[in-house]
C-alpha cells in the first residue's frame, strides 16, 4: 500500500511528509544529505503504510478482517501480531479490564458526531455479549474469537507504527530525528526539538516543550462527543458497561520514553474518568489534561 | 542418592508452573544486584580463584575462567 511522499528543505535539515492512518505524518531530520533523508522518509512512510495495511479495521484484506470472517474458528497469527496481542493482554490486565481491544463493536451503536443520537440501553446491552478480552482464546501462534466478536487495534496501532518507524529509520542514520504521525510523536537525538502540545494552553496558544529524546502521545478528542439534554457523552467507552466514562478530561497528553507507552498511558488515564489526574500523578510521568 | 536428588529437582521444575511473575512484574528482578552470577560477577570470579587455590573444592557456580597451576 503506497502513497505519495514530499520532501522539503528546512533551516537545519529536511522535512518529509505523507499521509497514513487518516493523519498527516511528518519526519524531520537534521544534518543529513538529501539522499539519506529520502531513504529515511521512504522507510518511515513504508512502515506506517505497512502497519496500517496489516492492522487497520477498515480493510478487508488483512488479519483483522480474516478474524472477523473466521466465525469462531482458530486462526493462525504471525509473530508480530502475537506480540501485539500479548501487549493488548498486558494493557487489559493493567487497566483492570477497562482497555479492551474487543470493544470495537460498540461503534455500531455509538457514533460521536456531535449530535444527540444516544443509543438506548437495550441497544448497548445487546452488544455486551460480544465484548470481553477474556472470551478470546489464545494458543501459541493461534487465536480464536467467538463468532460475532472483532478485534480493534486502533488504540495501539498508530503509536506502535511511530516506534517501529524510528527503529527502522535508525538503520539508516544517527542524526537527530523527529517522527510525528498526526500528533503522536517520538524524538531521538542530541539537540531538542520544539514540540507543540495542544493541551498546554498558554494565552490561548498551544504551548511548546523542548524534547530531545522521548515520545508524546495524545488520547481523546475534544471534538468527538454527543450532547443530549445538557449531558455530554465522551467518546471514551467503558467496555464493561458499554457506556461512556464519566467525569474525565476530554483529552490527555502524556510524555514517555516510547510512543506506544505514552499513548497507552494517555488512554488508560482517560479510562479512569474522574481519576485520570491522580492516576497520571501516581505514574510519575509528564502529562497535560484538557478539561473543557 | 544423587539420582534421587536430580529426579526431585526435575519434579520440582515441572510443578513450578504456578511459581513466578508476569513479564511486567520483573522490575525488581531485572536489577543487576538480583541476577545470580552477575550481581557480584567480578568478586565471584576472584573469590573462586582464591578459594580454588587455598582449598580442596571448586565448582558449582559455573565455569569458563580457565585453569591455573595453583592447585
Amino acid at each position: 500500500m503506497a502513497g505519495e511522499t514530499r520532501l522539503t528543505r528546512t533551516s537545519d535539515g529536511w522535512l518529509g511528509r505523507f499521509t497514513a492512518m487518516a493523519s498527516p505524518c511528518e519526519v524531520q531530520l537534521r544534518d543529513v544529505s538529501r539522499s539519506t533523508a529520502e531513504q529515511v522518509l521512504k522507510r518511515v512512510a513504508g512502515e506506517a503504510w505497512r502497519v496500517e495495511q496489516r492492522f487497520s479495521r477498515y480493510r478487508d484484506d488483512n488479519i483483522v478482517a480474516a478474524l472477523q470472517r473466521a466465525n469462531g474458528e482458530w486462526l493462525a497469527v504471525d509473530e508480530e501480531f502475537e506480540r501485539l496481542l500479548a501487549y493488548a493482554d498486558t494493557c487489559w490486565q493493567l487497566s483492570g479490564g477497562r482497555f479492551d481491544v474487543t470493544s470495537g463493536v460498540l461503534r455500531r451503536v455509538w457514533r460521536f458526531d456531535g449530535s444527540d443520537r444516544v443509543p438506548s440501553a437495550d441497544q448497548v446491552a445487546a452488544l455486551l455479549p460480544l465484548i470481553g478480552w477474556d472470551r478470546v482464546e489464545r494458543r501459541p501462534g493461534q487465536i480464536r474469537l467467538p463468532a460475532g466478536m472483532e478485534l480493534d487495534l486502533g488504540g495501539i496501532g498508530k503509536e506502535y507504527a511511530v516506534d517501529r518507524a524510528l527503529l527502522l529509520a535508525r538503520e539508516h542514520t544517527d542524526a537527530d530525528l523527529l517522527l510525528n504521525f498526526g500528533g503522536d510523536l517520538v524524538a531521538d537525538g542530541k539537540t531538542p526539538w520544539q514540540i507543540g502540545i495542544e493541551n498546554l494552553q498558554q494565552n490561548g496558544v498551544a504551548g511548546q516543550i523542548p524534547l530531545a529524546r522521548g515520545a508524546v502521545a495524545t488520547s481523546g478528542d475534544s471534538r468527538r462527543f454527543l450532547l443530549r439534554d445538557g449531558k455530554r457523552y465522551s467518546h471514551i467507552l467503558d467496555p464493561r458497561t458499554g457506556w461512556p466514562v464519566q467525569g474525565g478530561p476530554h483529552s490527555v497528553t502524556v510524555a514517555a520514553a516510547r510512543c506506544t507507552e505514552a499513548g497507552m498511558l494517555a488512554t488508560l488515564a482517560l479510562l479512569q474518568g474522574a481519576g485520570a489526574e491522580p492516576f497520571l500523578r501516581a505514574q510519575g510521568v509528564r502529562y497535560w489534561c484538557l478539561w473543557e | 542418592m544423587r539420582v534421587l536428588t536430580l529426579l526431585g529437582c526435575l519434579l520440582l521444575v515441572s510443578g513450578c508452573q504456578n511459581l513466578g511473575v508476569n513479564p511486567w512484574e520483573r522490575e525488581v528482578l531485572a536489577r543487576e544486584a538480583m541476577i545470580p552470577g552477575v550481581a557480584d560477577g567480578l568478586d565471584d570470579a576472584f573469590d573462586d580463584h582464591i578459594y580454588f587455590s587455598k582449598e580442596g573444592s571448586s565448582g558449582g557456580r559455573g565455569f569458563g575462567g580457565g585453569g591455573c597451576g595453583c592447585n
Binding site: 498511558l265 | 529437582c9 513450578c16 511473575v21 550481581a39 578459594y51 558449582g60 569458563g64 580457565g66
Partner: protein, 425 residues
C-alpha cells in the same frame, strides 16, 4: 497526598515500559546496546608470612542489536612469597631441596616448612559468546587460555539456556573441557621417591578436566529468585603437585634421615618424599543460591555449596551477603563466608617408615598438602561502592580470611583487597 520524587515511575508505567520493549522486540536497556561495557578491577591478596598476589583484570562486554553478547577478559596474576611445601612440623630441623633441585634450604624445629622461592606470573585470556537460537533458547560458547612458566591451560565450553514459564524458569546445560600441561621446573619428580635423590624425568605431564553443569534458575516471586546447580567434574591425568612432599618421621615427631632409607644425604631431617595423588578425580557439587530484595531495595544473598569427591573430601560452603542500598547510588555490602572440608583419604600429616614401605610397595597415594586435609575457613568482609547515573560504577572491598586445620601448616590469615570501576566505551 504524598509528595513523590518527580518522574519516579509508578507501577503501571514501569510495567508498561517493560511491556512496550517486549512488543517492539528491543532489549530493556537499549541505551547500552551500542557500547562496550568495560570493567577494570584489581585484587590484592596477602597472607601473613606467606603468599602475596596482585591480580589486575580487565573485562569488556558488548550486547549486539540481535541480542547476542560477547565477553572478553584479560587477567594478569603475579604471586610472590612462600607457601607450605607439604612437610610436617617436627621437633627438629629439616632440610629440603628447592623446586628446581639446585639449592638446599633448612627449616628450624617447630616451624611450618615453607618453600621460599615461589615466584609466578600468570596471564589468562578468555572469550565467551552467546546468541539466541529462538525466543526461548540461548546458546553460549567460549574459549580460554592461561599461561605460567610451568603451567599451560587451554579450555573450551558450550551450553544452552532454555527459558520456560514466561521466563520464570530457566534450565541450563553447560559442558566444559580443559586441557592442562604441567612442566615443573627441574623436571617431573618420581612420585614417592626421596627428595634428596632428585630422581626426575625431564618431561612434562598433562591432565584433562571435563565439567558438566545442570542449572535451574527459578523466579519464586517478584522479589525472590533462586538458583540450583549440579556440577559434575571429571579430571584425569597428572593431579600430583610436583613441588610438594610428605615428611617421614619416627612416629614421635622427629623427621627421619634420608640416608637411613638408602637415599642421598643433604642435611638433617631430609627424609621427605615427593607426594603422589590419584590420576583421576570425580567431583560432585550442588550449589544453591537465593536472592531476595526487600521493599527498600536492600538485597539478601545466601549461597550454599556441598561438594563431595572420590578422594574422600566433602565440603560445605556457606556464603552470605547483605547489600544495604543507600541514597544516590551508594551501597554497603557486608559479607561472611564459612567453609569446612574433610580430609582426603590419602592425606598424611607425616608418615612412618613402615607406612612408607607399604605405600611404596603398592604404589599408593600420599599427600601432606594442608589444602587436602581438614580445613575450616572463615572470611569476613565489607564492600562499599556507588552506582553513578550513566551506568558507571565503582566499588572497593576489604576482607579478612582465617584458615585453620589439623596442623599448624593450615593456620593461614589473609587480607583481601579489591577495587573496581565500570565504564562504557
Amino acid at each position: 497526598m504524598q509528595l513523590k520524587k518527580r518522574y519516579q515511575p509508578g507501577p503501571v508505567s514501569t510495567s508498561l515500559a517493560l511491556a512496550t520493549c517486549a512488543l517492539l522486540g528491543v532489549p530493556a536497556m537499549a541505551e547500552e546496546a551500542d557500547k562496550w561495557q568495560v570493567d577494570g578491577s584489581m585484587l590484592l591478596y596477602s597472607e601473613t608470612d606467606r603468599v602475596s598476589a596482585i591480580e589486575p583484570v580487565i573485562k569488556a562486554s558488548r550486547t549486539f542489536k540481535n541480542e547476542s553478547k560477547l565477553d572478553l577478559k584479560l587477567t594478569v596474576d603475579s604471586l610472590t612469597g612462600s607457601s607450605h611445601n607439604g612437610a610436617a612440623v617436627t621437633n627438629g630441623p629439616q632440610t629440603f631441596t628447592s623446586p628446581s633441585g639446585n639449592k638446599v634450604y633448612q627449616i628450624n624445629a617447630g616451624d611450618v616448612p615453607l618453600d621460599d622461592s615461589f615466584l609466578d606470573t600468570r596471564v589468562a585470556l578468555s572469550g565467551q559468546y552467546s546468541w539466541l537460537l529462538n525466543r526461548t533458547l540461548r546458546a553460549t560458547s567460549g574459549i580460554n587460555f592461561s599461561n605460567e612458566y610451568d603451567f599451560f591451560s587451554v579450555g573450551a565450553n558450550a551450553g544452552l539456556n532454555w527459558d520456560l514459564n514466561q521466563r520464570n524458569t530457566t534450565l541450563s546445560f553447560l559442558l566444559g573441557l580443559e586441557s592442562d600441561t604441567i612442566e615443573p621446573v627441574g623436571g617431573v619428580p618420581e612420585a614417592l621417591s626421596l627428595q634428596p635423590d632428585q630422581l626426575r624425568t625431564d618431561s612434562s605431564e598433562s591432565r584433562t578436566v571435563t565439567d558438566v553443569l545442570l542449572g535451574w534458575t527459578q523466579v519464586m516471586n517478584r522479589r525472590w529468585i533462586m538458583q540450583l546447580n549440579y556440577n559434575l567434574s571429571l579430571a584425569s591425568g597428572y593431579m600430583t603437585d610436583p613441588y610438594k612432599v610428605v615428611t617421614l618421621t619416627d612416629g614421635a615427631g622427629t623427621a627421619l634421615e634420608s640416608e637411613s632409607l638408602g637415599g642421598v644425604d643433604i642435611g638433617i631431617g631430609d627424609a621427605q618424599i615427593f607426594e603422589q595423588r590419584p590420576d583421576s578425580r570425580t567431583r560432585h557439587a550442588l550449589y544453591w543460591e537465593n536472592r531476595y530484595s526487600r521493599e527498600n531495595d536492600d538485597v539478601i544473598a545466601i549461597g550454599y555449596r556441598f561438594m563431595t569427591d572420590d578422594w574422600g573430601i566433602n565440603s560445605h560452603t556457606l556464603d552470605m551477603k547483605y547489600r544495604w542500598q543507600l541514597d544516590r547510588g551508594w551501597f554497603l555490602q557486608p559479607h561472611v563466608r564459612y567453609y569446612i572440608q574433610s580430609e582426603a583419604d590419602f592425606w598424611y600429616e607425616s608418615m612412618t617408615a613402615p607406612e612408607y614401605t607399604t605405600v611404596l610397595a603398592s604404589n599408593d597415594y600420599a599427600s601432606g598438602d594442608y589444602r587436602l586435609g581438614k580445613l575450616t575457613d572463615l572470611t569476613v568482609g565489607l564492600k562499599v561502592g556507588r552506582e553513578l547515573p550513566s551506568g558507571r560504577k565503582w566499588d572497593a572491598r576489604l576482607e579478612f580470611m582465617q584458615q585453620s586445620g589439623d596442623t599448624d601448616a593450615a593456620d593461614v590469615s589473609a587480607v583481601i583487597g579489591q577495587v573496581g570501576y565500570r565504564f562504557y566505551w
